[in-house]
Amino acid sequence: MDNIIKTAHDLNRGETSTISNVIGSKNMIVSLLKQGLTPGTLIEKKFSGTFGDPVAYSARGALIALRNEEAQCLQI
């Protein structure tokens, strides 16, 4: 079942989707929510840098760098 639910990490560069759910540890969820990465927010994968981790995402007019581990907490 796990591979059916996609996350922001699975987006291709330039692809946009809506966050459906935020998962992970309590601490992680709060940190992501505080940044405005709430369910219903549009998120676009923008730049992946040299190592492909962290990756810069655009959401609510801001460019936010997230580690892949964190992006995997944002279900789309």
Binding site: N27, T38, T41, K46, F47, T50, A62, I64, A65
Partner: protein, 634 residues
């Protein structure tokens, strides 16, 4: 006087507003009862009214997760010192994301004014904002802060007075309860609704057509190349741009020293003023160009928005050694001075990563090491091959980074530092902007002044004390003839008080290849590393006056220096490598130890760090020197 506190998320334009209000005339002050700093100033006279203004680190919520953000919350809710007015600065292009902070803060009863920034960016995106409606929806006064004009600032200050006068005096200031997850979500929903009803977008947005620097700077290949290029540019500029200025300062002080001694040849105060005071001062001031240039580069990078990208680019490699991308800025500052660097580490929310960063920061090649490295490298390399010196200096920078990485790797595996707090890296990358030259210069001047104020007195005291110790006691000398009057003369260095003390220490320093004079200079470097150079000059009594520059004279003197008992040269290649090794690792900076104890809230941490690095440096340099000698390198 009315106290205004500026509050808002990262990169919302808070500090730009602060600089505008105070004309960049501010100072960093300690938060009462702690060592935590914030920026405090008063409004510039050109705005008419006078207010106290406080700038705070960026926050997204009133329940922050790093120490720097805690400062902002503390300035708001300190019962003895609550702000009269909080100006919440909000980026108009990120309204929905920035409003939740303001909405929560409204419950605290602190009078609020909303300052809207980045309006030029908003209009570039083809949108406008209905700030009147925004104010009505939120129930606060809204000021459109077009920072480049004077009217909005005046309007803001007028509003501050009005809101202050009309505020309810009986309202008790309370810290709002921490919202739970669903409340956070609904805060952002409210933010989005307000954004939708106040931002008026034009029909066809052509924002995507703009050239985006990130397509190069965060590009998989070009991104890292440009990062390396930027860093190389910074570090080479510290040397190339500063070199002519440093030579000029050196010559100037060399001339002054000579002048003092020549114009008062038979007095005690001529040499005292020259060798003791002026040469001591010169040894501090000579590094001003390098430090200033480093700070200009740093604040230029920070203001442009690149520093956050740098942190993102190096997060992966730094994570491999137990650090985080957020360690990047402290480490970069560490090349100037470990003290501001340790304070910059407050932005690291994970405790373990923060401690490891604090642990290795003293290994970054700080500006106080430059003079020592510069002198020894100049001594080791032929003068017609400056590139060799440059290469060695680069090597020493890498040695600092490499040893820091190795120690970080080991420390991250240690049981004591394990904690359950999971490592995170969520960092907003600000929009690029052109740095304000005035802000950059004021910042760099302040930091440079800070350096002079910190290092200056120490170096002066040590120089004067050393001069006295190496020249006293006075001895009575009878010139030729029995009837000639007895005059008093300074002692030779070998008969001075310093010699008596120093010779007892020689056994400690001899394994490092140093005689007692070099040993005293090493001891003095524990007051501040750069003191080593001025102490060497005093201990070895520069006598070759033919050269103009102090440094060249010192090099010639070092060339001739020999052990008193054996006539063997002191400064051989192996000794010099030993000194370089010692200075790479030894924690010779007392202020750093104090700041580290404060930042970690652990005297034991700072103590073990001091002892660990210094013992390693001592033992390591002995092994290196003796090993080189066994290998046939004198």
């Amino acid at each position: 006087m009315i106290n205004i506190t500026l509050i808002g998320p990262h990169n919302c334009g808070k500090t730009t507003l602060f600089n505008k209000l105070t004309s960049s005339m501010y100072k960093t002050v300690n938060y009462p009862g702690s060592t935590i700093e914030y920026c405090k100033g008063t409004t510039s006279p050109k705005w008419g009214a006078t207010f106290n203004v406080i700038d705070t680190p960026g926050i997204y919520s009133l329940y922050p997760d790093s120490i720097d953000q805690q400062i902002s919350v503390d300035t708001l809710f300190n019962p003895k010192n609550t702000p009269d007015i909080a100006v919440v600065v909000v980026d108009s292009t990120q309204l929905a994301r920035h409003l939740p902070l303001l909405i929560t803060l409204k419950e605290s009863n602190i009078p609020i004014i909303l300052g809207l920034t980045m309006l030029d960016l908003l209009s570039k995106q083809g949108s406008t904002i209905d700030s009147q409606k925004l104010g009505e929806l939120l129930g606060v006064e809204v000021i459109e802060l077009n920072i480049n004009k004077t009217e909005p600032i005046q309007q803001l200050l007028k509003t501050v007075t009005r809101v202050y006068e009309s505020k309810k005096t009986d309202a008790k200031i309370i810290k709002p309860r921490e919202p739970n997850n669903s409340e956070i979500i609904s805060l952002f929903q409210k933010g989005s609704e307000i954004e939708k009803s106040t931002i008026i977008s034009a029909q066809n947005i052509q924002d995507q057509k703009h050239f985006n620097w990130d397509s190069i700077l965060l590009n998989p290949v070009l991104g890292f190349l440009s990062f390396i290029l930027t860093m190389t540019l910074i570090f080479s500029s510290i040397f190339w741009w500063a070199a002519p200025l440093m030579d000029l300062i050196d010559s100037g002080f060399g001339f002054l020293v000579g002048f003092c001694k020549e114009s008062a040849p038979d007095t005690w105060w001529g040499p005292f003023l020259g060798d003791g005071i002026i040469a001591g001062m010169g040894s501090v001031i000579i590094f001003v160009p390098q430090i200033f240039i480093l700070f200009v580069c740093m604040s230029f990078l920070e203001d442009s928005g690149y520093l956050a990208r740098g942190a993102m680019l190096v997060d992966r490699p730094l994570r491999a050694i137990g650090l985080t991308g957020r360690s990047f800025v402290p480490m970069l500052s560490g090349f100037a001075c470990a003290i501001p660097a340790m304070m910059a580490a407050r932005t690291i929310s994970n405790k373990k990563e923060r401690l490891i960063t604090l642990l290795i920061l003293p290994l970054m090649t700080c500006s106080a090491r430059l003079p020592v490295y510069g002198l020894i490298i100049a001594f080791l390399t032929p003068r017609d091959k400056p590139w060799l010196g440059g290469l060695m200096m680069t090597g020493l920078y890498f040695a600092g980074i490499l040893s820091g990485s190795i120690i970080a790797t080991f420390a991250s595996k240690m049981k004591i530092l394990q904690n359950t707090d999971k490592s995170k890296f969520i960092l907003e990358l600000p929009a690029y902007k052109r740095p304000q030259i005035r802000t950059v210069l004021v910042f760099s001047l302040q930091k440079t002044y800070h350096y002079l104020k910190k290092a200056g007195p120490t170096i002066m005291i040590i120089s004067v004390a050393l001069w006295l110790l190496t020249n006293l006691p006075l001895k009575e000398v009878q010139s030729s003839g029995v009837d000639a009057p007895i005059t008093k003369e300074f002692a030779h260095t070998s008969e001075s008080w310093a010699a008596k003390l120093g010779q007892k220490l020689e056994p400690i320093f001899e394994p490092m290849g140093l005689d007692w004079r070099g040993g005293v200079a090493v001891l003095c470097s524990f007051a501040a590393r750069e003191v080593f150079v001025s102490s060497l000059a005093l201990m070895y009594r520069i006598e070759d006056e033919g050269e103009e520059q102090i440094k060249v004279r010192l090099l010639n003197t070092m060339e001739k220096a020999t052990f008193m008992k054996s006539n063997q040269k002191v400064f051989t290649a192996s000794t010099c490598f030993g000194i370089l090794f010692f200075f790479t690792f030894a924690l010779q900076c007392f202020p750093t130890v104090v700041v580290c104890a404060n930042e970690t809230k652990s005297k034991a941490f700072a103590f073990y760090q001091l002892i660990g690095f210094t013992v390693f440096a001592y033992v390591g340099s002995i092994i290196l020197v003796q090993g080189l000698r066994m290998a046939g390198i004198s």
